[in-house]
Assembly symmetry: D2
Homo-oligomer: 292 residues x 4
């Protein structure tokens, strides 16, 4: 698997393809805005002009797109994956998409004779850079086995979860839990602050207790300062909350806390915070500071 295609060079995709390059893989990259490829090229990547061109060139292609619409268009549009996929070609979609989108892509690719694996990840910018993602794979088991050397570079652990759609679903469940936790955390920080407590002391206390976790530790100090450098953009987190709630709807699972959290993320979007880190939901709780 020395020659790998890589479609999509956003925050995540760039970090991941860099890791592949630095571990000796030959990588052919493509991005809708081609200039995003430049830095990769400096580190040894080749550029493919279109998704189809990348598929044609590489036996294995990984995609890391920002949302279901992007994941679909890369496959189905003109010059897309479908035009070159076929027998002997392998496609691993690591984007976070809903199960339905994943199934649609899976069917299209397998009906042309290609192999498909969905492999969304848990972890954002930093773990992507450090090769410490958690990979949630589902679909073609043989392709999963073949991809393990790649997954070993990109992540610290990978799971094979069964049929196509299960990777997407697991990802949504994890991100939904994380999104609600972020809201819980934000409310705690603001309540401490407005009640006359030192929010930094709250962080210290939390870090010593049963709910200490890397996310609080990493993002808390920034949140207190009102700083939200985008590791996982809020609009993508809100998309995942929405998709997770839709999954709950299908399965008749009422999730009032996730629903409240989703509205907070929507509020944040309406405040123009969608491109900041999802921890910016903190502003929806704190935003009335000045006006109270």
């Amino acid at each position: 698997m020395e020659e790998i295609g890589f479609l999509g060079l956003g925050i995540m995709g760039k970090a991941m393809s860099m890791n592949l390059l630095s571990h000796g893989f030959k990588v052919t990259v493509w991005n809708r805005t081609l200039s995003r490829c430049d830095e990769l090229v400096k580190h040894g990547a080749t550029v493919g002009e279109t998704p189809a061109a990348v598929i044609k060139k590489c036996k294995y292609t990984i995609a890391m797109l920002s949302d279901p619409a992007a994941a679909l268009s890369v496959v189905f549009e003109k010059d897309g994956v479908l035009e070159q996929i076929g027998s002997g070609k392998n496609y691993i979609d690591m984007s976070t998409v809903d199960a339905e989108t994943s199934s649609k892509i899976s069917e299209a690719i397998t009906s042309k004779g290609g192999y498909f694996l969905e492999a969304p990840v848990s972890g954002s910018k930093k773990p992507a850079e450090d090769g410490q993602l958690v990979i949630l794979a589902a679909g073609e088991k043989a392709l999963y086995d073949a991809a393990l050397p790649v997954f070993d570079v990109l992540g610290k652990k990978s799971f094979f979860l069964g049929q196509v759609g299960n990777g997407a679903k697991m990802k949504l469940v994890v991100n939904m839990t994380m999104g609600s936790m972020m809201n819980a955390f934000s409310e705690g920080i603001v309540l401490a602050d407005k009640s006359g407590l030192n929010p930094q002391t709250l962080l210290d206390v939390l870090d010593l207790g049963a709910i200490a976790n890397p996310m609080f530790k990493m993002k808390g100090p920034f949140m207190i300062q009102g700083s939200y450098p985008p590791a996982f953009p809020l609009k993508h987190q809100q998309k995942d909350m929405r998709l997770a709630l839709a999954l709950g709807d299908e399965n008749s699972v009422a999730m009032p806390v996730a629903a409240a959290s989703n509205e907070a993320f929507k509020k944040a979007r309406s405040m123009g915070l969608g491109d900041l880190d999802f921890s910016a939901v903190h502003e929806t709780v704190a935003s009335s500071k000045s006006s109270s």
Copy 2:
């Protein structure tokens, strides 16, 4: 500080007084149901007949009661703390109460010449047994300094937070955050299960990611089995959510996720789960399993 009084031998108080005994402190215990003292006596404790008697005997007395009402009655009722408190006597209330209750107790004790420290803890049964609590002290700084040898036995870290009420407030903020997190976790587990994923795999995935934390790791496997052995009773967690929301109300902080979580805990109480561990809120999400 070798001689210490200890009022209240519930789950927490018992574990804490045991620790004091095993570290060589002389402890005089009292509990409303006196038979709860028996086991402590076997390990060397002396029994005080009333809170007043304990105060009379000991220069330093610690209280660990279940709720604000109990904390107040131990102080103000007949044979209560107030009858013997006075110059040279020190009272450390480690119960989780609201700031108003704490202030009321503080005023009563200091007006009689006694010294008061509130010192609620973060951590439940297991940390209490292991001497790994986090102690959130506020009030008389000199008493805090004097109590450090005791706090070193009971906890892994203590904070001095300033004026009386701040310990109570910090505790509420921590428990509110924890309560919302527990709801986020429960919704995640149920969504995984109903969507055809293995909930145990969800636990494995969560434990590798940015939101991995001891509470998920410790309680998750029990929750999946529908087992909720009470470490921190749900009715007490709900009380803390209620008090935290009231604190937010005072300070004009809207906290929609905590509010939704509080309603879930109330729902759990209405289902008769108040005496189980607070992780039993999982049942409010999962309970329709059989009827869907």
Copy 3:
């Protein structure tokens, strides 16, 4: 417009086509389960074998289907509307669907030369029977004008709202508001009951005040008795809440109360109440009566 086709004979469609018959219109009906046509035939209706057959026969055809999927399949499937629609043919879809579904149907019909009007209604079984619906029309203005004699029979008032999609959107906004109100009402009834008040007195008090409304008056007495004869099925109300929340998502409108209400409807679905009236959401608040 004496000859009218009518597709879909559910609770609503049956009542509406009966009204048309009793006002002297010639009506050709079709329903997926054809036996549902029998009663209409007794009152003078003709049966069309397929949607296509109805379109072929009638210059004007009205559809009243249960959900977007049904509305789409009647148009696009074999023997569907599209096979016979064309110049001089008019199609009025009165189903409650999302704007996207309505647009898809509109485009298909107008591209074949037909005229399209969406005209979802506000009001359920009783207003449908009494010809007291409120009709929210959008699309082809000329068709709206031509349809006024029909709308005068079916409803007490009709609005022309502009471009296709606006009728669907208005309907969702109304139903979302209604769904949240039903939850507010249910919570009030249960709180009264559990607090030792007579719920019937609550109904009397409400009916005298600023929030008195026909829905409370009509459904309240049934709800108190735990009786929910389906006028507007809960699963359809929940679908509308979901679609309204999705519309809010598109437009960055956070709606925490609608979101909480939607989760209550989902909970009701998970309790097996989806086919009862949407007032059965009352059971999600009251259901712990026996176990408290």
Copy 4:
């Protein structure tokens, strides 16, 4: 009952005492800010210097205070009701308070030999002015009967609800329902607006349907214009939501929609809207208009 004392001349109390004057009752008024009495004096009222003075002078005294704290202080503080209450004296508290406050006042008054009736009202400024309140009385039945001529002037209907506390509870249930409805309405208006619909058309549609009610009709047009002249101040509505939720807490009733609504009112308070009409909660949904 020609001579009546009246304590508290806020929006409500002023309108009510004016009605009593215009119907021929002799009224002795008191207000904490005595200058508020001036206009009443112009219409024939006498001024009492203190609550105690009013009680001393009048056999029947009505109180209409803004919140539980005010209701308590008028009774218990220096120069308060208790100093002159006794055998043959009657006290009717029409303030909206929690049941606990009402019980405390009741016990104090009856223990001195006075008669007590709680009689909170449903309806705000306009109904108060028009003598169209709904009166929710509980306590001393004989006093209720004696007060009927007064209630006939102040309200269109009165209920006797049994033991002290039930009037307060009924009031809370009604206001909680109303508060959630106001949120449902606000969300509907904003969703319509942001989705490209005319909010005024939404009002017209709502007014024709099953959820048409005087509150929507009266407040809707003002809300669309962002105008919130205070009939029922938002901070008082939020207080009632809080008390109703506390009542639910006591009785283990989970009310997720009321809880979400309460947080919206708290958000509004934090935005500095507490003194406007409670319909100003609309701003919490709409407020991001400019920044989206």
